[in-house]
Chain length 200, copies 2
């Protein structure tokens, strides 16, 4: 089995959402799996000095336009929620809690989070909303509430973010092919060519 | 004649250089010309609060890798000069001075500037180096030295930068198709699809 790709993203990243719709099939076309690894861009931005994309003069309005245009081209549903960006900490902790039990469940949960935010426009920042999403989907019982405050779960998320930064991850999405990083939804075609040719 | 595309770039932008190698043919495939319009990102960044890409933690090292990798894939020569970024003011003024006389000469000059910087690694910041480049290429005589300090030339560049920002240009390259902006070298394939389909 060839090593999986690492798919780094922030649940609050609209370009991460767009990539999430394609990454598994892209990886599968090359006999690989994609390992989904949510991170917290807010933590990363403290190192890079970046501010959230959509808050930036000129770049923010452009990104809104580009996202809508790209979603139309892809034919996928997309909206920006009224409350944005959201704090993805609770959703990310829940993801790694699921992942430690059952990666398939974690994947289903992550897809549910992205759809809740970028299709339905819901605010998945508050832990209560994350808990409700997981429970309504039948993925977890009441124990998820405690899990979100579990030290091991908190540590896992922190370790994932630190490890991602140590690998050079600074945005969302970043696709890591072995140790080769590709940043941005627009780089997916180059990822595909890299996998096809085995690098160059 | 269909309206030309506007190709905005900073002479010091490596992604602008990569785009410069493709934009004319891309436009021509759709019966259009590309109007090259150098701007000064340093001025734009005062509005957006951005800092030069290659100076940023994590993003800078990534960009160096991505540029080398992308140039290898395209099979085009590329290097980052030791002195980088350069101040593109003199080169940009010279461009618009040429442009006011003969757009073909301006194009040839711009291609020469990009090659000097990103193929030969020369420092095209100092006006003397810009003047030498233009004279060595037989594009201008000694009058270019005065032209770089001519009020009309300075005003033209300032007006171009202001007009670009008023249209939402915030990076390099930005391709403006009629009034639709596309930012980034990675967006060229989407520009091509937009032109093919006439938008969507």
């Amino acid at each position: 089995m060839i090593a999986p790709l690492d798919f780094y993203f922030d649940f609050s990243s609209p370009y991460g959402y767009l990539a999430s719709l394609e990454i598994d099939e892209l990886a599968a076309r090359h006999g690989r799996a994609a390992r989904w690894r949510p991170i917290l861009l807010g933590v990363v931005f403290k190192t890079t000095g970046q501010s959230p994309l959509l808050d930036q003069p000129l770049r923010g309005p452009y990104a809104r336009r580009d996202l809508a245009r790209t979603a139309r081209e892809l034919g996928v549903p997309f909206r920006l929620p009224d409350i944005f960006p959201i704090n993805a900490m609770a959703a990310s902790r829940a993801y790694y809690w699921f992942d430690s039990q059952d990666p398939a469940k974690a994947r289903a949960f992550a897809q549910g989070v992205f759809a809740a935010i970028f299709v339905e426009g819901r605010d998945l920042g508050p832990p209560a909303n994350v808990i409700a999403l997981a429970r309504d989907a039948g993925l977890a019982g009441p124990e998820i509430a405690d899990a979100l405050n579990d030290t091991a779960v908190k540590d896992r998320l922190r370790a994932e973010v630190d490890a991602a930064m140590a690998r050079g991850v600074f945005g969302s999405p970043v696709i890591m092919v072995d140790d080769e990083p590709f940043w941005g939804f627009d780089h997916l075609p180059q990822v595909e060519r890299w996998l096809t040719r085995g690098g160059w």
